[in-house]
Amino acid sequence: MTVLQTRPTLTPEVAAETSAHEPTPELAASAVGNGGRLLRFALANLTRRPERFVLSTLGIALAIMAVVVVRTLSIGFAGSSSASLSEVLHGAPLWVTPGQGISYNAQLSAMLPDGPAPQLTVPPGWTALHTVAGAWNSSAGELAIYGNARIADGTVILSRSTANKLSVSDGGPLKVGTTDLTVSVTGNSPIVMVPEQVATAVVGSKSWWTVMPPAALNGRLDLGKLLSAATGLPTSTDPANKPSGAGLIYDTAGGGGSVTFQQRFTALYAGKVTGSMLGMVSNVGLILGFIIAVTSFLASVQERRREFGIMASIGLADEVLYFFLVESAVVFVLAYLGGALLAGVAVLTLVPGVASVSAWAQAAGMAAAYLPAMAIVGALVPVHRLLQQRPVSLLADAT
């Protein structure tokens, strides 16, 4: 608005027109400060070549779509594995796993042990819960089954959806293995909970322990070390460390730092998706999208050499950078919106079992983090080449 203040006799239209044709340092400063005018200028330039504008936006949108789809799947997968960890721990800070390890069975949406839990004698005051876990071949297909002493004898706990799958109702009978149990429908866990001896009869001895410290030790960050000293088992606060030998105590509360065990666990499983072929392919897509942005801007620079030559010759060399940054920002923001929407439609129609709206929203948010860097570098590369040249050569080369 500096222009209008310094030239009060001009109408806004004339002032705007004048500012476009008579750039001065003051006008340049006003242009830099005036986002709306820069945006209008950028849109006018972009729509001078509407096909290229649409194509480059489409290309970048497709690349962003690929990234958002993969991130959505990654977050969805990590979310279900994280929920399964909560099912295992039930608030206990220590998890004593077998030496053969534990694995997440995505088909059953449950953590399962790969071997029998180590022998464990906890110090006085500590409580340990032994859980036998595995896959049960039910009449409705394979289901995850956990058995421990917390479940009352003669009872099986199911979620509503599992009960529907098995065609049983609350209070009704269900035969698990050779044992007749009474159904109790509660919660929404995909896991079938039974007494320990029933689970052992069905899935064998594969198991783990979850350990609670005495109330006096609650809140301490070295519980793993204390139990390790008492039992001789190694301990770790990092879920990436695999159990070996007799077993491993995961200390899910200890370790300090800003990242919790659950968050590391989630990141570990999210990384499995992004590190797969799916993740690799989407990253290549993002690189190709960036190439499209750069080549599109390079072509634009090439075609507007005379315009930039005139600007540079009257001292507006640096302002060219602002023009391109705004053009780049417009293209990337539109591409981001289009790509994120396309990704939402794609994941919710093609992979509804894995993706959710919240996972998509998180993934779209994560993809937004790439945008500023891509938009800035995408604009800087072509403009840098332009600014290397003298105005006279820009004017001479232009055809």
Binding site: R49, E51, R52, L55, S56, L58, G59, L62, A63, M65, A66, V69, V70, L73, F77, S80, A106, Q107, S109, K272, V273, S276, M277, L278, V281, S282, V284, G285, L288, G289, I291, I292, T295, S296, A299, Q302, E303, A346, V347, L350, V351, P352, G353, V354, T399
Partner: protein, 188 residues
């Protein structure tokens, strides 16, 4: 006349072969990934089964590979807009000398089709060679499958050509429809 347009397009494509390298490369990258996903269907499905819903994850992998191929082909269309801009005056001369729109469009479409086809074929061949070398040297435990590979190559080539044609026809049509006087006065 369209045949002459195609011949003219082939001549100018040969003359401007160096400018086609980047779009060919991006298309080849997309085609390479599509063929890889198809040829390693078994191992991709095994990897997908680790994430739970095997079919849905495989479908997602396929979708992403095709999307990346489309991104590669969009570069072909972006290159076409640049070419058309550089040849505006030439298009104006053709129009001024009485050449109708169809042969001009045909001539302009040769370049993107050749780039897309060449890129898809190069990418597919590279994918087959990489699979063969890795399989022969034991560099990969996954065994490439012949049937899915053929499907992958066919899809990569067809999608590349179709999407290059669809995305390039609009700028080519606009350029060929412009009055010759405008093309000659504004041409670069």
């Amino acid at each position: 006349m369209i045949r002459r347009g195609l011949s003219y397009g082939m001549l100018s494509t040969r003359r401007r072969a160096s400018t086609l390298l980047l779009p060919m490369l991006t298309t080849a990258t997309g085609a390479f990934l599509v063929v890889q996903v198809f040829s390693l269907t078994g191992s991709v499905k095994v990897q997908a089964s680790a994430f739970g819903n095997k079919d849905q994850f495989f479908r997602a992998t396929l979708l992403i590979a095709v999307v990346v191929l489309l991104v590669g082909v969009v570069e072909v269309a972006v290159c076409t807009t640049r070419t058309i801009n550089q040849r505006t005056r030439e298009i104006g001369v053709l129009g001024a000398t009485g050449v109708s729109r169809s042969p001009v469009v045909a001539a302009l479409m040769v370049e993107p089709i050749v780039a897309a086809f060449g890129g898809a074929v190069c990418g597919s061949i590279l994918a087959i060679v990489v699979d063969g070398v890795l399989s022969a040297t034991g560099g990969s435990s996954a065994e490439p499958e012949l049937g899915p590979t053929a499907v992958g190559v066919t899809l990569a080539v067809l999608i590349s050509i179709a999407s290059a044609a669809v995305t390039s026809i609009v700028p080519s049509w606009h350029a060929a429809s412009r009055p010759p006087i405008r093309s000659l006065s504004h041409g670069g």
